[in-house]
Symmetry: C2
Subunit: 211 residues, 2 copies
């Protein structure tokens, strides 16, 4: 199932397939053709078949895909059949929004600790953990294996926190600070909320230009 | 400058170019070749030249791109040289995180009103607006032209809010509820935070499979 040559574009489409299949399953749809899936996803059918072929292909000619087994396969490729220990650094609005979203725990991501340097937040009981002082991160990491660190701090300290987490053995960083962080030997996803806002304004202006 | 045939992939890369160029400008870099830009962005140079050619091309053979003028051009293509009136529906953690991020106003997006149905939030003064009851949205929209509506509500009501905003003349929806919303005649960006988390878990598992 592992393929080292899966392109970035295919990887980015996998979560979208996963969400679409979850939705189909919820609607009680048991089987779907690549053609029907292509309409729902706004991709062309041969693209979808090609994507799935990267992982050995899941369909049967003329039969389509079985929704629940395809969902399970893609979930497994995405590693969603496993559990992850997650810590949150920065317990402001974004951090609290993430900890209060129950979907992450359902999907295998357990937030086991939260840290902040704001005295008003330290000691506060969030949905999943009590906020501890940032100074305790290093010690926490010597005592606990952590897979993913969420950075939801101001941008000024984000890279410093990224270094601290990486040194402590965290394997992956999910960064919401509005600056790209990086470090050797760590997997990083920098989330840029404004990117989708800029796509909105691009389309708004296309629309206005037509009027 | 307007081109109806710009592909989705190119549109999605524009904000990334914009961010990269902002960063270069901040670093005081005045000129950059497509080769240097390609290294910084993890794209190949011919891809970059092709992308820019969709908009008429900005470079000069053997000279490279002038950072500040390219930044201005791409900003203008993205519509970031204009201002937008934005309302927020749902003033919970995500909503408050968005209103307290000063970068949006700097970039031309002015949050002019916020709405929620939670009695504890109504009347609260956020950084940009006082939270009003959701029941006042329709009237607000008859009296104010609004370009963009942010939906940061629970998923159960997101589509209903989307309809309400569209009927009130809002042109674009930036949706953070974990369900896709849609409506005729409205531009929608559905933000799926979990997509990037799933890419993280995919890469974590690739790494583990190598060990």
């Amino acid at each position: 199932m592992k393929d080292r040559h899966v392109s970035e574009a295919v990887i980015r489409r996998l979560p979208k397939y996963y969400r679409q299949l979850q939705e189909l399953k919820k609607q009680g749809i048991e089987r779907i053709s690549s053609g029907e899936l292509s309409v729902k996803m706004g991709l062309n059918a041969s693209q979808i078949r090609q994507d799935f072929n990267c992982f050995g292909g899941f369909g049967q000619q003329g039969y389509g895909y079985q929704v629940s087994s395809l969902l399970k396969e893609i979930g497994s490729i995405l590693g969603l059949d496993q559990r992850y220990k997650v810590i949150l650094v920065g317990a402001g609005h974004i951090g609290q929004a993430l900890t209060s979203y129950s979907g992450f725990a359902r999907q295998g991501f357990d937030i086991v600790a939260a840290f902040d340097n704001d005295e008003r937040l330290i000691g506060r009981q969030l949905d999943v953990a009590t906020v501890r002082p940032i100074g305790e991160i290093a010690e926490f990491l010597t005592q606990n294996r952590v897979d993913i660190g969420i950075i939801a701090t101001p941008k000024e300290v984000a890279n410093e926190i990224c270094e601290l987490l990486t040194k402590g053995g965290v394997s992956a960083i999910w960064n919401f600070a509005p600056v790209d962080v990086s470090s050797e030997n760590v997997i990083v996803e920098n989330v840029h909320l404004s990117d989708s806002l800029y796509v909105l304004s691009f389309r708004l202006n296309q629309l206005r230009a037509e009027d």
